[in-house]
Assembly symmetry: C2
Homo-oligomer: 364 residues x 2
């Protein structure tokens, strides 16, 4: 079987590494000549909306999927009319647009922070009559890793914040005073079978994920499973999906979802019986889903901007290194390491060491 | 870093899959145009003794290693004079020749079955005055998976058995009435650090490995570790080595060793904290070795001759599939599955199911 992937970065790379043992082959469409997943599959080199390349992808691949959701909506529709595409174009369209996404979540009774759409400065000023400061102005599309987001502390910030949006459609939402950021990752098959991973607790800085920890038996697990179930069923979703949530005094508010494997689930490679990457492939191929049970305690630390010293990471007990083969660049995710241990104190101790190494190379 | 591998089969494939997360790249020399590891690295297509290709391999690779030990001895020597090669040519030379190997083991006080060298029928007949029936006549070189071996039940078998050797140098050895076949896999760094995996208990049929089980805390673990330590130190060995042993009434007799990652260690991918593949790469790169601790109970079943149905394997709880992307052919190893569980009864139950599937596709 040949799996087509839109995007050839580290998520495609890790999907391919998980897929080879299942006997799968890969074909990756990516505009970059040196995307880090390229060596693991045939590379279709060109733009995401290149009709000729898309036609070749659809022809060659048994199933097409995404590692990157910000592709033009008509690409998903074109592909879906020529071959099997998971997740489906609707899931992609909703996930791409913060307004559609938030409305969709609200419609499903999944709580979200308060938000309002904004198309110009006047609307922003009006919206901020209803939404308390601090708040965040976010572009509706193309945002990831904190890009396209501006913090609003007072009415004085509004004109400058709106200028930074460069006229794109936006939403403004209240900044919720959360205790924790968590995410739930789940995989759903065409038959409707769903497998849920334990919650991840996520630490961001500068809008970029830094650390995720697996939370086995968290008291909010069931609530998060309910929300992701409603979402996946409403979208008739197939594959892995990640739903990011804020924990505000024990209440979960949905932030956003990603229609793909997700950075906060990278710990599943060693920390769960079956990784999110393998389960995504199993789901889109309509194969039985693998166990999502945690293997002991696990955490993940991103390497951002700079490459860590391999020997230094491998000398940390319980550490598993995952470099992406990317040239380091300011703010760029170049790899991560997972920690896995049967002992939580050992994990905490190793995590301190690993975070120190990650901070030492972090230039963002 | 670029790792060169002599051979591009499933062992090279699994080395590469373990090496990508360490940020490594691969270059594989293999005479076959469709060796199953090829997609994971640059392919040098030609004979193992092609001087031009070897020179290119030595030039491009930071370290060269083997997935296949039966390459001409002068290849190892040529490479070692041009680049780092692990394991070293001596280890390869000893492992290639059953007579050198057995003499080497004896010299280290590692017990072996009784054996004698044989160069013609008269010598064979003389040798069988000293060695009891049943015995096995084995070619000194190029034997694997039971090839080049003939069982001797009585003196009447000798002329025919010798004819089957086609005049090659051979040894004859007593067939030991063992209770178990076990193997120990260990990794050694240039600095002399050694990491030992738990023993594997191995079941062969028709000379081909069928099932391996991880034996945590076996009473013969320490003895096996002693033997493999003596062997690795005497060879100044770097990398992973597998020593196969017979357990005869609680005494271990060495059968043979493989200077490479080994089929009986495939369970380490999911069943140990660090796989044999990753530890081989760590060793030859002089990186800290990873923990060899078992993760619960583990076993491995080979798929031989026929491809199993993916969905059928993945429906077995605790099963992890590893297909090699090879065209099925009689007696050919096309993949394996690992079972891993924290519960030994669950593992046993899953093992029965998995063996049944493997037997249903086995044509050997």
């Amino acid at each position: 079987m040949i799996i087509g992937i839109l995007g050839g970065g580290q998520l495609a790379r890790m999907l391919a590494l998980a897929g080879y043992p299942l006997g799968l082959q890969f074909i990756l469409l990516d505009p970059s000549a040196d995307a880090c997943g390229i060596g693991l599959g045939e590379h279709l080199h060109g733009a995401y909306d290149d009709q000729q390349l898309l036609a070749r992808l659809a022809e060659k691949a048994d199933v097409v999927t995404y590692e990157f959701e910000n592709v033009p909506a008509d690409v998903a529709t074109f592909l879906a009319s020529h071959t099997r595409v998971y997740p489906n174009p609707k899931a992609l369209a909703v996930a791409q647009d913060r307004l559609l996404e938030k409305n969709f979540l609200q419609h499903l009774d999944i709580p979200t922070p308060k938000f309002l759409p904004v198309t110009d400065l006047t609307e922003l000023q009006q919206a901020m009559q209803e939404i308390p400061y601090p708040a965040i102005l976010k572009s509706r599309t193309m945002g990831y890793d904190g890009k396209g987001q501006v913090l609003l502390k007072s009415a004085r910030d509004l004109p400058d914040a709106w200028r930074k949006m460069h006229g794109v459609l936006a939403i403004v939402e209240s900044f919720v005073p959360f205790q924790r950021e968590v995410s739930i990752i789940a995989a759903r098959s065409p038959s409707g079978e769903i497998a849920y991973y334990p919650l991840s607790e996520n630490q961001h800085a500068g809008g970029i994920l830094r650390v995720s920890e697996c939370l086995a038996n968290d008291h909010l697990q069931q609530r998060a499973e309910d929300y992701v179930t409603w979402l996946m069923e409403a979208l008739d979703y197939v594959g892995v999906l990640a739903l990011e949530l804020f924990d505000v005094d024990g209440h979960l508010l949905a932030n956003e979802f990603a229609p793909r494997v997700h950075n906060s689930g990278h710990w599943t490679i060693e920390g769960a019986e079956t990784s999110q990457f393998e389960n995504h492939l199993r789901a889109i191929l309509d194969l039985p889903l693998g166990s999502t049970a945690p293997r002991g305690h696990a955490a993940m630390v991103n390497f951002i901007g700079g490459q860590p010293n391999t020997g230094q990471i491998l000398a940390i007990d319980h550490a598993h290194l995952h470099l992406y083969g990317k040239v380091p660049r300011k703010g760029r995710k170049v790899g991560h390491a997972t920690l896995r241990s049967d002992d939580s104190a050992q994990l905490d101790s190793a995590l301190k060491k690993l975070v120190a190494v990650a901070n030492s190379v972090d230039d963002s």
